[in-house]
């Protein structure tokens, strides 16, 4: 769940960690293009059943970088069953992230372990690890640039990433389309742990520029087996804005107010 911003580039950051010089340069450009000191996003998530039935989730998330470490606070607004749930993640140097959750029904802040990487994020087609980016290293995968081709009128690099044996990963292989102009991830194919069967597909749409940063304002993740889709729309985004550090505290989790 942490670092919602990174969903826009996560496939590249997580999956296309190129060891080859050319690939590394490409990835560095992707990372540089998305590098921010802070961000705020208002996100609408629409879950689409195979038969077309839909339901929505709404979250707001703030991200603050301090000393190259990231703090993320996420506020759940919809549906009613999770409204005003607040989730705080604090990245640490040399040890696992700290995570706390505030459940309004209990009015209590609880520390939780980051154990549910495979689980569905709010019933969506995104897993918790899909929504995060920490804990992965460029050395965790072997990447191969397969080809260069046009995808939806964008000139792209197509990169295959295979996680190293022994690394903690939900997938066995990824194939990623990276836009050559904006250095954005436009499409990702996710493969099973055996690496032979594609299980999910992500597509980015509505490419636009906000506060000097290119981003996809609409991302669609589909689980191919079930036909279930999740459409993630960025309703509002702000980059490099001053954020009160008081938002990123357990005190804010408990009270909903920054000091």
């Amino acid at each position: 769940m942490k670092k919602i911003l990174s969903i826009l580039i996560f496939a590249s950051v997580l999956l296309v960690s190129l060891s080859a010089q050319t690939g590394s340069e490409i990835m560095q450009k992707v990372i540089d293009a998305q590098k921010v000191n802070s961000s705020a996003m208002d996100i609408l998530m629409t879950l689409v059943e195979k038969d077309g039935d839909t339901s929505t989730r709404r979250i707001q998330t703030l991200i603050l970088k301090e000393n190259d470490l990231t703090k993320t606070i996420t506020l759940f607004l919809e549906p009613a069953s999770v409204r005003n749930t607040r989730f705080l993640t604090v990245e640490n140097e040399g040890r696992a992230d700290d995570q706390w959750i505030f459940l309004p029904s209990l009015r209590k802040v609880k520390r939780i372990a980051a154990g549910d990487k495979d689980g569905s994020f709010m019933g969506s087609d995104f897993s918790y690890s899909d929504m995060g980016s920490s804990g992965s290293s460029v050395d965790d995968s072997i990447q191969t640039i397969l080809r260069e081709e046009k995808y939806n009128d964008h000139n792209c690099f197509v990169v295959e990433s295979i996680p190293n044996a022994g690394t903690d990963n939900n997938y066995g292989k990824y194939v990623t389309w990276v836009d050559k102009t904006y250095w954005l991830t436009l499409k990702v194919e996710f493969y099973s742990k055996a690496g032979r069967t594609q299980i999910k597909e992500l597509n980015s749409e509505n490419i636009g520029k906000e506060n000097g940063h290119w981003l996809a304002k609409k991302i669609i993740m589909e689980t191919l087996d079930s036909g279930h889709k999740t459409i993630l729309e960025i309703k509002q985004v702000k980059y490099d804005i001053p954020l009160n550090p008081g938002y990123f505290t357990t005190t804010f989790l408990e009270t909903g107010r920054a000091k």
Partner: protein, 429 residues
């Protein structure tokens, strides 16, 4: 009439207070939706049907409408929030309601630069345990309707003043004053949820809703590295009543034991595991165990952990809590500690475990929770199946099973005929 009074209070307060939820100071207001209005009304409304399985009681089937309303009044521009919680159940409609029957919370929270003040009728939860605590003395349990898988639901709201002082980014120092005291509430004799039928008439001449029974407490919590740590102190009374046999009559006179509780708590995450511990010591006015009607000193503890089974959607939680009565006297049959013990044992140990898993994009959830009291073979089992038909519409089928040895005040034995299943449909808004 009292219902009308409550509604009037709601209307008046909603007219006076305003505010906004979400990060309203960051995002443009035209994008704010229903969930970010100044007055937040949420809750549940639904029906449940409970059937008891045992034939030894008169057939009892209940079909209850229920409403659980929460109104939160927020104000970014004012340093104050107000919250009102109402619980209305179908069986109450046939009886005369008091405000206390339906108001589960009526509180104000006022913010200052150095902290915030909670004032009114509310519940608070102390300790790092998951639902269960041994250092959480401020809200007594209400067992008159049996037991719930959410222990917090069983707590009785209390009138309190609680000042919370900020200590850095993650520390908090809380000071609480409870003007009144209420003991643990149990069902009366004849009720299926009654625990023990006393041999003599019980008389309680204590008026605990006076300042003479007021209580005070303090708690300090902070985070150090991977640890969330805390310490607490409570001065008041033990919530379990003591009894003294008085002649002529004879009658059982209710006496409450004055006590102080010192407690420590810690929670930390390591890998996929979250660990939780609590420990405490009750200093009572019967430290030497000379007064049979009073409770002795007692050490209490809780240890537990939870984790997600790797590669699965199964979440597992295990906790054990217990107590040890100091200077335990098993020679006096009138001693309260002996009467409340199991198999004349100074120690009690209870283990709680729960496993839950979600399926189909979190639309379905199965949870099985169980409790086992070692000293009396007491047990409770709570299986629950939940189906989120829609995001705001939930259907659940749950069960409760009880049993144990006929030993002391073993409530699991006392409730052995109360095995039941409940079907519930609720709309969440």
């Amino acid at each position: 009439m009292k219902k009308l009074s409550v509604l009037l209070i709601l209307i008046l307060i909603s007219g006076l207070l305003f505010g906004q939820d979400g990060f309203g100071d960051i995002f443009d207001s035209e994008e704010l939706d229903e969930s970010q209005k100044n007055v937040v009304l949420n809750g549940e409304i639904g029906l449940d049907y409970r059937s008891y399985l045992d034939d030894s009681w008169e057939s009892e089937r209940i079909f209850l409408p229920f409403t659980n309303l929460n109104l939160l009044f927020l104000a970014d521009s004012l340093p104050v929030e107000a919250k009102i919680g109402l619980i209305i159940e179908g069986n109450d409609l046939d009886t005369i309601l008091t405000v206390g029957d339906i108001v589960s919370e009526l509180s104000l929270r006022s913010f200052f630069s150095f902290g915030y003040l909670d004032l009114g009728l509310f519940k608070t939860e102390w300790g790092k345990g998951d639902g269960i605590h041994v250092i959480d003395p401020l809200n007594p349990l209400d067992q008159s309707n049996g037991v719930s898988s959410d222990i917090n639901e069983m707590k009785r709201s209390e009138i309190m003043a609680k000042m919370n002082f900020y200590l850095g980014d993650s520390g908090l120092f809380e000071i609480v004053y409870n003007p009144y005291f209420h003991p643990v509430e149990t069902a009366p004799p004849g009720d299926r949820w009654n625990i023990v039928v006393p041999a003599y008439t019980v008389q309680d001449n204590n008026n605990t809703e006076t300042l003479a029974f007021s209580q005070a407490a303090a708690r300090l919590t902070t985070t150090l590295g991977i640890f969330d740590l805390g310490g607490m102190y409570y001065y008041g009374y033990m919530t379990e009543p003591g009894f003294k046999l008085i002649f002529p009559g004879p009658v059982l006179d209710v006496i409450y034991t004055k006590a102080q509780l010192f407690g420590l708590e810690a929670g930390w995450a390591l890998g996929s595991f979250t660990f939780r511990t609590e420990g405490g010591y009750w200093f009572t006015e019967d430290r030497e165990s000379t007064e049979a009607q009073l409770y002795n000193d007692r050490a209490v503890w809780l240890v537990g952990f939870d984790f997600m089974i790797p590669g699965t959607s199964f979440f597992v939680s295990v906790q054990e809590f217990g107590s040890y009565v100091v200077n335990f006297d098993n020679s006096n049959p009138m001693d309260m500690d002996l009467g409340m013990s199991y198999n004349d044992n100074a120690v009690t140990n209870t283990k709680i475990a729960a496993v839950e898993s979600s399926f189909y994009q979190d639309k379905m959830k199965i949870r099985v929770a169980g409790l086992y009291l070692f000293e009396a073979n007491g047990y409770m089992v709570f299986p629950t199946y939940t189906w989120n038909i829609e995001d705001d519409l939930e259907l659940s089928l749950s069960g409760q099973a009880f049993g144990g040895d006929n030993e002391g005040s073993n409530l699991y034995y006392a409730w052995r005929d109360n095995d039941n299943i409940t079907l519930e449909l609720k709309y969440i808004f």
